[in-house]
Symmetry: C2
Subunit: 168 residues, 2 copies
DNA sequence: GAAAGATTGTTGTTGACGACAACAATTGCC
DNA sequence: GGCAATTGTTGTCGTCAACAACAATCTTTC
């Protein structure tokens, strides 16, 4: 956050008026980026920060973060998957997935069952409660996507998804 | 990492052959994403991971990470800036910038000078060594951008920059 | 059939990173 | 001059990725 011209900043009036401390004019408003502009990584990073924060805010009422959402979605679409499979598919460390599942299991959204085919692994399923919850999460996620459309434009969002389809 | 079809994975042969442990076929190769496809945030996250790793690898020989590069670039383009100004411009916590500058100052790339206009703040400048170093960093960064072009296509990269220009 | 090697889930450590809170020094406003 | 605000700094907390090590289990191989 503390972005630049992005969304509603914390300064309603341009110039910030007087009344507080130093800073003749609002500092760093016209700092040249120069070489930074034109770097794909920088733009993507800033956008990613924005989009994640909107996701977190939009799904805030149900307390679901992007990674949790992706885990639930994959399990919901592929019941019985092992932790290894989920981790591999989402590019998450399996060590990290352990904590994620601990949290989701405490909330009664996911269930770990000992697999009978491979007793090392756990078969992952959504609970009944998890199913209905995920349905709600998906509605909120769709709302979040509409925010993205409102931010960058419907056409541009579609373009973006097309360009980055190979990374999904 | 541990992406999917992204760059050179750690498995040269498709199917991974036998010779090791379990997994009849390489697990999680055809796991349905379904609902995850079509989420801008997910695609952007995966892309951002890829692009940062390529940046880190390409600038690995000089040991410069994306954030460090952005700090050096801004200071180089706007000598005399305060830490507050840099932090605000890049969306970095000023507390975080302290450590970043500590590191860059130890490496003799940046110099903190007590500002005479405002004795609370530090004026930031590149050292002579920092100038020449940054020139090299920029060449490597340009090489990184070429990797991005090779990955998603020249046209698509330009599209991306245009779409996300508002976040820069 | 048994040993050797690999995989799965788990725990723990490390380091980068963002969000906050508190503090001394300094500045601007009244 | 006094008070509020800003700047740089330090420290804490929580998230997250990258590793390493371990027990249990499976596959391969002899």
């Amino acid at each position: 956050m503390t972005a630049n011209a992005v969304q509603a900043d914390s300064r309603p009036s341009p110039r910030k008026r007087a009344g507080n401390g130093a800073a003749p004019r609002d500092v760093a408003d016209d700092v040249g980026l120069d070489a930074l502009v034109g770097h794909a990584g920088y733009a993507v990073r800033r956008f990613q920060i924005w989009i994640f924060q909107d996701f977190i805010k939009t799904l805030g009422e149900v307390d679901i973060r992007p990674t949790q959402y992706s885990v639930l979605t994959v399990i919901g679409a592929n019941p019985g998957l092992s932790q290894m499979a989920v981790a591999k598919r989402l590019g998450i460390e399996r060590a990290r997935l352990v904590h994620l599942l601990d949290s989701l299991e405490q909330r009664k959204l996911v269930k770990r069952t000992k697999s009978k085919e491979d007793r090392r692994s756990h078969a992952l399923h959504l609970t009944a409660q998890g199913e209905t919850a995920l349905a709600k999460f998906k509605r909120l996620a769709a709302e979040h996507e509409r925010h993205v459309e409102a931010k960058i434009g419907k056409e541009n969002r579609a373009q973006l998804l097309r360009i980055l389809a190979g990374f999904t």
